[in-house]
């Protein structure tokens, strides 16, 4: 990996911070304000995309800013893992921005300036997480993301929103504390905090120490990743406006958790150390339990967004499972699932938001026959549901296929069974919604009346993306190659 100095990673982080300032300054002129959001989103994606060529060419663009602690610099490095996450987050931010404008305006929400500014800061933090070159830089952006998301969770200011905000903080800040402790610990025993494929922990580290360290890390990033039993903030956070649930609580924030797990296991521990810690099986078991439990809990939810939230919890643990199994296929599948799940789940949330904006319905039991009124939205919902259940040729099938291969390579057939059962459960909690929408009749929805095109167009595009990822997993953004490259770089070094 050849390092090249580049300012673009830094610009990609800063562009939305700058936008946040401009958004606040221009808060009085909504159109100008939203202009900054859109401009920042497009610019950010452009910057990230422009780095893709370098990464695919085997180079590592990056920049080292200044020391934030003696010997540890604030530094950004763009590798295959980082850019794959950054690409998906920044691409979907463009669509979410358009969608947000439609959603917030059609509902006449208050405090839109704060909303768009916080959103922009969240995206800066997310890209910072993706490009962080060492653990300290990572935790700085990780904590920033926690705080920047809080105003979005409590956006409505209702007692329910405030209670959810408190819950959110308790969980996330506790996780942050565990992560900080873990990072400080690594700083005390390892020669460096820089992420390196194959890990940085010294070979002499004892098994108990490794296990404790891994527990701290898993708590730290597992909170954001919704790993049970650390998950309950996520359904509560559904009180936020739907675009927040869509981008942050299906893509950016929660994926920062699983991304962090990939960083920690692949670039701090490495496969050898992970094996030695003896923690693979417990974490995998936790993930498997999360997958099944979350799917069962999802079935029990009548509130559409909460059902999707539980579904997210389950799918995040697919990724967790793939990462801790440390076989090449499991990593490929897990990392690819970061992207495919992002596309599918954001579609579902967009649909839920469009339904809410148009009809103010939040509960599944009130949606009988809505397919007649909003056929495009519900059609998209159906497609994404198929994808989540793992039906070919959608993206979800592909990631699951590799995950399944990974479980076999790790000689864990029980986990394969978990994946298969989970697919069925996914179908069981998602398809009835589609069924109700199209095949149950009711008199309330008769006329064709979709939500604003600002919402419908983004959700159609994400649907296309979900399908496209299954058929052409490598088109345009090379997401599959990136996942593959990460898996090879991490596991080859370690396995030899």
């Amino acid at each position: 990996m050849e390092f090249v100095l580049a300012s673009r990673p830094l610009l990609a982080v800063l562009v939305s911070l700058l936008a946040a300032i401009l958004i606040v300054v221009c808060g009085r002129w909504p159109n100008l304000r939203e202009g900054w959001t859109l401009l920042a989103a497009v610019t950010k994606f452009g910057l990230v995309f422009s780095l893709l060529g370098d990464v695919l060419g085997g180079r590592t663009p990056g920049v080292t800013l200044f020391e934030v602690s003696p010997g540890i610099a604030l530094a950004l490095r763009v590798d295959a893992l980082g850019i794959s996450f950054a690409l998906s987050a920044s691409l979907l931010w463009i669509l979410t921005s358009v969608y947000s404008i439609g959603y917030m305006r059609s509902l006449g929400e208050e405090h839109q300036t704060r909303y768009f500014a916080s959103f922009a800061i969240c995206l800066s933090s997310t890209i910072g997480i993706a490009f962080a070159a060492n653990l300290l830089t990572f935790i700085i952006f990780y904590e920033m993301l926690t705080i920047a998301t809080y105003p979005l969770v409590v956006h409505k200011g209702t007692p329910e929103a405030l209670a959810s905000g408190q819950k959110y903080l308790v969980y996330l800040l506790t996780g942050g504390g565990a992560l900080l402790l873990a990072v400080a610990w690594v700083r005390n025993i390892a020669p460096t905090l820089d992420f390196q494929p194959g890990g940085i922990l010294p070979a002499a580290t004892g098994a108990t120490e490794l296990a404790l360290l891994l527990i701290l890390f898993v708590v730290g990033v597992g909170v954001k990743a919704g790993l049970m039993p650390l998950h309950s903030w996520l359904p509560a956070a559904m009180v936020a406006p739907t675009p927040v649930s869509a981008l942050l609580h299906a893509v950016a924030v929660v994926k920062a958790g699983v991304f962090g797990l990939a960083r920690v296991t692949g670039f701090v521990f490495g496969a050898d150390m992970l094996q030695r810690s003896g923690a693979i099986n417990p974490v995998a078991a936790l993930a498997a339990a999360t997958i099944l439990l979350a799917s069962l809990l999802a079935m029990a939810q009548d509130n559409l967004k909460r059902r999707l939230a539980y579904s997210t919890i389950g799918h995040l643990s697919y990724i967790v499972l793939g990462i801790v199994l440390v076989t090449p296929d499991a990593w490929r599948g897990g990392l690819f699932h970061i992207v495919t799940h992002a596309a599918m789940k954001i579609t579902l949330f967009f649909c839920a938001g469009a339904i809410y904006a148009k009809t103010h319905r939040e509960n599944i039991s009130e949606l009988d026959g809505i397919g007649k009124q909003m056929p495009v939205t519900l059609g998209a919902f159906g497609v994404a549901s198929l994808g989540l259940a793992g039906v070919p040729p959608l993206g979800g099938f592909l990631s699951k296929w590799f995950l399944a291969g990974g479980t076999l390579a790790a000689e864990q057939p029980a986990l394969l069974a978990v994946l298969i059962i989970s697919g069925l459960l996914n179908a069981a909690y998602l398809f009835p919604i589609v069924y109700r929408a199209f095949f149950r009749h009711s008199d309330q929805f008769t006329k064709f009346a979709e939500a604003s095109p600002l919402m419908v167009v983004p959700l159609c595009l994400t649907t296309l993306l979900s399908v496209g990822l299954g058929i052409f997993p490598d088109a345009f953004f090379k997401w599959f190659s990136l996942a593959n490259e990460t898996a090879i770089s991490v596991l080859q070094v370690a396995v030899k």
Partner: protein
Amino acid sequence: MTHIPVLIPAPLLLAAFLVPLAGMLHQGLVPAVALAGSAAAAAFAVLGLRKVIAEGPLHYELGNWPPPVGIEYILDPLSAFMAVVVTVTGFLSLVYFRPSARHEIPDRFVTGHAVALLLLAGLSGMVVTGDLFNLFVFLEIASLSAYALVAIGDKQAPVAAFRYLILGSLGGSFYVLGVGFLYFATGSLNMADVAERLAPIYHSRAVIAAAVLIAVAMALKMALFPLHLWLPDAYTYAPSAVAGLIAPIMTKVAAYVLIRVFLGVFQPSFAIDHIPLLPAISWLAAGGIIFGSVMAIAQQDLRRMLAYSSVSQIAYVGLGLGMANPLGLVGALLHVANHAFMKACLFFVAGSLRYRTGSVGISDLAGMGRKMPWTFAAFTVAALSMIGIPPAAGFFSKWYLLLGALEVGNGWFVAAILLSSLLNAAYFFRVLENLYAKAGGKEDESRVAEAPASMLMPTLLLAVGILVLGLLNSLIVTEMLMPVASGMYRR
């Protein structure tokens, strides 16, 4: 020979005497004189720090009497760092002092300024002196000024000041007793000289008694739990201008004296092996961190919440010192600077709020975030820094303290640091929630203006300073604190 060490307290002392004269001529001259004196002190402190880093310690013999007989003023990296923190924060506090004092204590405007300058002169004198008894003199100057300043506050202030006076005088007496014992044992008062003469007689009971007396005295002065009893009332009922002056720096200088005495005059091993003072301090501090935070959560008055938060935060400094390792000390010293900025900023905000609304109840804050956006933006930055959210300065204090705690392998300290950060979040987010998330605007049509520029500027400056301190902490640590810390523990 350079004059810089003495030039730090001198302009403050001079200005303290000039202020009443200026007040007789014209009230408008008072702040100008005060700020000029304070700015000169800060400028000399910064100059001194640069010189110390470049050339090594600066010594000044007062009245040309050579030590150990004469009084010596010393700027070494530690005292120069402290002098900058005290004088720069003090300068900003004086900038804020004028509008706030004019509003809250108009009839004590002139004397308030004079005594505030005396306080700063005392504090900066404590920092630069190399003489144990001279330190006592400055300690009393600072303490008496503080009692007086607190006493001119609310109705309850005289009682709070009286309590402060009793406990503070107790501390002062303990200190001077301790110094007396040391003098009997060594025949000297010059710190460097005493240090040399002490080493062979560490087992002496007089020396051990002296150490205990000085430790208790300074624990009282820095409000180290459970000797913090004077602090909450004093900070709550003092005039806002005074709280903004005392809260950021006063207790830190007492902590500095502990560092100076137990890591400088005594060898660090003394306070661990001969009598376990440092471990005692660290355990009390760990308790104080939690106690202060829990009490802060229970408060309904913003100032009282901040006061208990101070009890908790000063204990961070105690913890870093008590850990007795370089990283812990770095964390402690960095937190001295960080917390000075954070607490000044927070008390300024509380004062501005009082200036505009007359109320400082936490439940009255609903919707204020939009009425005084800049003031509360500064508050938010300081609050996040207190919780330890990067890249604000508070995160890095936590980082070094955590590294220190891990190095000594004490899980309780680690737990205290991490738990405290959550507790800080609990009480600060309660405020932030009120400020921003609760709807207070609809039925409440009252218009509250943003704080006047003279109060807003120093507040915002501190908020920016918090971020700058955070991002540049590595510079401070490698250039100043790490050499100080490793130097002190190398002996």
